[in-house]
Symmetry: D2
Subunit: 401 residues, 4 copies
């Protein structure tokens, strides 16, 4: 039996790992296989082709690494940079902080650009740095597309524009962990050099695959990058890509079949429809927060995130209690506030294979929990606001028209 | 791939088949087994013991028949009655109607007591009939505990009382398909002679087991009942019970393991807590209906059902459109109005392994659909009413305190 | 945890229920669904079309009844015959015996033609009876295609020939439980009026669907047949077929998806290849038995079965001990001898989704068990005989050429 | 549908990934969960305690890293050593070669001790090196317990004895990927400092967890080791162990529940029984090879492996053809010969959740394939030899006595 059983479904609204759709669970329900048989490479080939579509790249080279997002970060950095390299990195929340910590421990010279948590990356500072750097000492810009801790989405097109304006050759490395396959992400158009995500986020799989996609420029950089690496070395993959066997070490057969199905579901729905659905879910969540009289941690509309909303609670409430109570009373899993904003925000993840009524159930639960902890919410108010938006904006399910 | 895929979970709120909890799905995810090995009888023995608990009987004998509710009905009738036997049967909705149709086709002499759909069984008429029947020509009373088509729960204690008052020996046969393991059902206390349910209802399994429980008096009756029967004959089971091998023909291994887990979940939650949860879900649904300004098909509070609510729609709306649209736009499965009340009601099933937030998601969906079809509902109103009730009445999940 | 765990796979070689292939397990690993949504009828329609192919009929009408083989028998009989009708039925083993018992309990006038167990149906006796019956008092011939208890396959083409020779109008009812989708079965060509099988046999699903297929003549007969029936009544299905909703009562969603996949697998392999594979497995098993110096229960080559082999053991050995020991020591599930031949035979089921190496593992296990119980088998002898046959006769797996 | 379907089970006999038992598949068949809820840490705590048992350590500290064996290697090395450190490493086959390649790329000063492939680690050379190294320049000994490419098991007790005899402080790092939980492995008794395995080997799970276990001495070394590391850094785990939340980054929920069940199965069978079963399977395989007139790649009895057997084929046969044909004709997955011995050996993996009859099926398949490719094997000979051993040595399944 499970460790902590509650009747009915668990309502999983942390911003990852997210709900796995039944067809994916089914696809993964299988015995191991010999990954050296002809079947696994044949499937891998289709995965490598199709995974590029969710990055919106045709020129990129994807690597599906048996690791988590943290490992994907490490792969992006060590394959393209050498110890001591100067990189500009934006600190805007817990996950960018952790990435910066990794960058420093990997011995890069990290030029940290910090914003208040709740704000986006300060691109004005970036612009000055780039403008000043005529010697091109900056080797890479590292930025999270969507900071999962605060629900802040950065403007990647603008980063590219700055680099282009100054014809600066810095590599453009993007953490797309809570964005790719949910938010509009355009690797080729934005000239992203390395983009990465994890299987347990918008792809709605279990944890276990870090997907890293490298531009031709990034691949070129990997030839001279001196960071020590073995497990995360792209070269081992490239060698096996050439051989047509694809895997330098044992992949998870289950995750490969799961990814195949996850991609099939995305394409059946249509990637643009997937993105539109996330936009709908994000907007509705923000309307609910507003109806509750609460503030979004994200300080300006330009940065709002369609995959996660961090909700600020009044000072007299400990947001940790909200998360605990939601789980204990309503089988609802919300995200904690992390680090600096621990106790001050709770987070609603609304990404992955999720629909409107699931979110409305969550919002109804949040309302009850808010009341439980003493916040004078009007029950039904957030649901009403979100519903009004959904009722006007939700298309028919295409396959059911 | 599925035939008609929609993103996110399907919201299954028909009054059966209902949502299967993950632990049950897991338990059924297995290869076939030899049912003549020692393992299957050992497990079957525990099932037969434990299944009696959900009927609240110690003296009854359960039969787990590889069939549906319709087959369970047939088993109840043919094992206890002979063609031509007079039975009193209550027609109060589509499922009692179908049972009566079966009774007639099985050549019983059916004395039908009809009520308006939305009302309970007319027990006054029963009382007169029993009072008059000093010759004991009435061999059985057939009644559905909960009419799934109209959301009407009958008062079984009262039926027993009438029979007792007149010391009438008629058998008391109860369709508990949408009640047992969800509503308070007391086989021994109420002197029910045959009670039955189906696996796909409150037990939250797939369709495939009709569970029929017979009192000692019913077993006695089976010795002389002349209705022709083979597949549904209790005797074949009793023979194998004695042998300790239990199965006259091949059971579904998967359903046996599923039932084992389903019962484990019920006992872990506590049967009384399960019943209380259904009471909470039923009450909240009715409060939502009221908040929407709509009427419950059930005409009086004494009959309201905690497992299914049939909602009357205004004459200018076709309830079939509500069901269609819910499925097409929101991935929400509601119950249709059946037969006489087709187009006039839609049904919300709230039984089985279900929790508060799932129901609130459903109610939010119903609100949007009502608006879609032109009913001037105030979005959020039903959710607010239901939430207010839940927020005051939902206990902590015991395993998480 | 399972009730009786052993390391490694269980080797399931009872003649049903049989091994379920992984793709079918996956297909069934799903929540319930509303069977009144458009999706379920759409899939049902494809199932009804495709299931006819495994009966090799274009004119037949299939019914997928939520029951076991016993229920399918009852459906075949009660829909086509009236109490008192004279039928000729062949007793050649435990399953034909049980069917005859059912026929008698259903009040038909059963003209039993008995053979020694191990022999096929005595068609000479049939011919005399048909020849004599110029008054056409015989309403039906009931015969099992493959007697699972003895491993005897009857010659159905010859039955048809006899009926045709005498232009006798008797209905031709066939139990194809352990034959259809494994042995060559030709409903239309052989003029079979009702044929039936169960999901847990060659289709390699869990128990739960009895598939009954009726010829136009059988459907015609059902209009006047007076046997009392409700649950098994074809008319209820036909009514819903016309409506396009297909289901008079709740089907098992899981089994429908499972059947969809099971049929897909059969067609992917090719039905004729499936039959050839069974022929290969049957032949190899018989060669092993011969190599062990044991006798097949089937007394003549004309009746040997390609789905199950009943092996006679020497009088000083109790075959029940073989079955027990196989399970206790080698996690091997063999079939018991039943009734008259209990203790005298054990059975190897070799039907369903099974391949050569699985069977060889089983045969190796049988050899060790034979030695365990004191039979002086030469270890490896049966495997050698079977392997020699396989090595000469097994084609490449088509999808892997 | 699967990419390359064949009827019946795939016979998976590569030396990893291995067959997953049904209870583990069931346990993993679940939605994601919030790993920050109280449930996941509670389970993790039991896993960390129980996983130590399969290493036979009480003083070790385990790390369950979301990675493969290659990542586990990297974790072992980078946490305990600094670039430039001298290590002695044994090259005896493809996997020790790959580890050495990693050691060199991680900038250690690798003192390679090479043996002919098919021989064990040359411990005489080790002894000389240790004897000479009075200055303790050797910081670590790296050895694979079981070389999966050649089926060679090294004598770890002897390595410890050499180090002890010379009171040499070198760390003792062991790749137990194809040994731990299958062969007798005694971390504490043998003074192993870091031992590691992968989930897809003897634990019979999918790929995805690298389990690394560190002695107190190894933990101490990690405080000063200067190798750059982040994802593989033990410190991040230790920090979260202290907090009681256990996970520095998102684990695979499915693998955690799978590991829980895998360990439960091991303890239910008994770890010593598991090891005895592997010994039985290994011995039987070697007897079969001998009966076929073929040679084991392992050159001496002292090194034979109970988890994998590499079989040398005659020069006129290409072993790659054997592997291909096994898969194409018999749905049998064997291991290829790798690198130097490509074409010269094929490998039979006999580790994990596997039983006697599964292996016999495999051996029967190998015989047929050998004949297919022109080797004059006597069909049945290997099975006979293996069966004779099994029949004398297989105990009853404990739970079934």
């Amino acid at each position: 039996m499970d460790y902590v059983y509650g009747p009915g479904r668990n309502h999983l609204f942390v911003p990852g790992p997210v709900n796995i759709p039944e067809p994916v669970l089914r696809a993964m329900n299988r015995n191991n296989e010999d990954y050296r048989s002809p079947a696994v490479p044949a499937m891998t080939k289709t995965l490598l082709e199709d995974v590029k579509k969710i990055f919106k790249t045709t020129s990129g080279t994807p690597f599906m690494i048996p690791t988590t997002g943290t490992g994907a970060w490490e792969s992006a950095l060590t394959n393209t940079l050498s110890p001591g390299d100067r990189i500009v990195s934006f600190l805007i929340g817990q996950f960018s902080l952790l990435w910066i910590d990794q960058q420093q421990r990997l011995k890069f010279n990290v030029d940290v650009v910090e914003s208040e948590w709740g704000q986006g990356a300060n691109l004005d500072v970036l612009e000055s740095k780039i403008a000043e750097d005529t010697a091109h000492t900056i080797k890479a810009i590292c930025i999270v597309h969507n900071e999962t801790a605060t629900g802040v989405t950065n403007n990647l097109a603008k980063v590219r524009k700055i680099l282009d304006n100054y014809m600066h050759p810095a590599l453009f490395l993007v953490d797309g962990v809570s964005s790719i396959c949910a938010l509009d992400f355009r690797m080729d158009e934005w000239g992203v050099d390395v983009a990465l995500t994890g299987s347990q986020k918008a792809l709605s799989l279990p944890t276990g695959i870090g997907i890293v996609c490298a531009s031709p420029k990034a691949l070129e950089a990997s030839k001279t990058a001196k960071s020590v690496r073995v497990f995360f070395d792209w070269n081992d993959y490239l060698k096996f890509y050439k051989l047509g066997t694809y895997w330098p070490y044992t992949p998870s057969i289950q995750l490969l079949y799961g990814l195949r199905t996850a991609l099939d579901l995305v394409f059946e729905e249509g990637l643009d429809n997937v993105i539109a659905r996330h936009s709908r879910l994000g907007k509705a969540t923000r309307l609910a927060v507003e109806a509750w009289g609460l503030k979004n941690c994200t300080q300006s509309e330009e940065w709002v995130s369609d995959t996660v909303t961090a909700v600020l609670v009044p000072p007299y409430i400990d947001s940790t209690e909200i998360v605990k109570r939601a789980w204990k009373r309503y089988n609802l899993s919300l995200g904690l506030g992390l680090n600096k904003i621990a106790g001050k925000v709770f987070r609603i993840g609304h990404l992955g294979n999720l629909n409107e009524l699931q979110l409305l159930g969550c919002l109804a639960g949040v309302e009850m929990v808010l009341k439980d902890v003493g916040y004078p919410v009007k029950l039904g108010s957030g649901v009403a606001a979100a519903s009004a938006y959904f009722q006007n904006n939700t298309p028919l399910i295409p396959s059911r028209i």
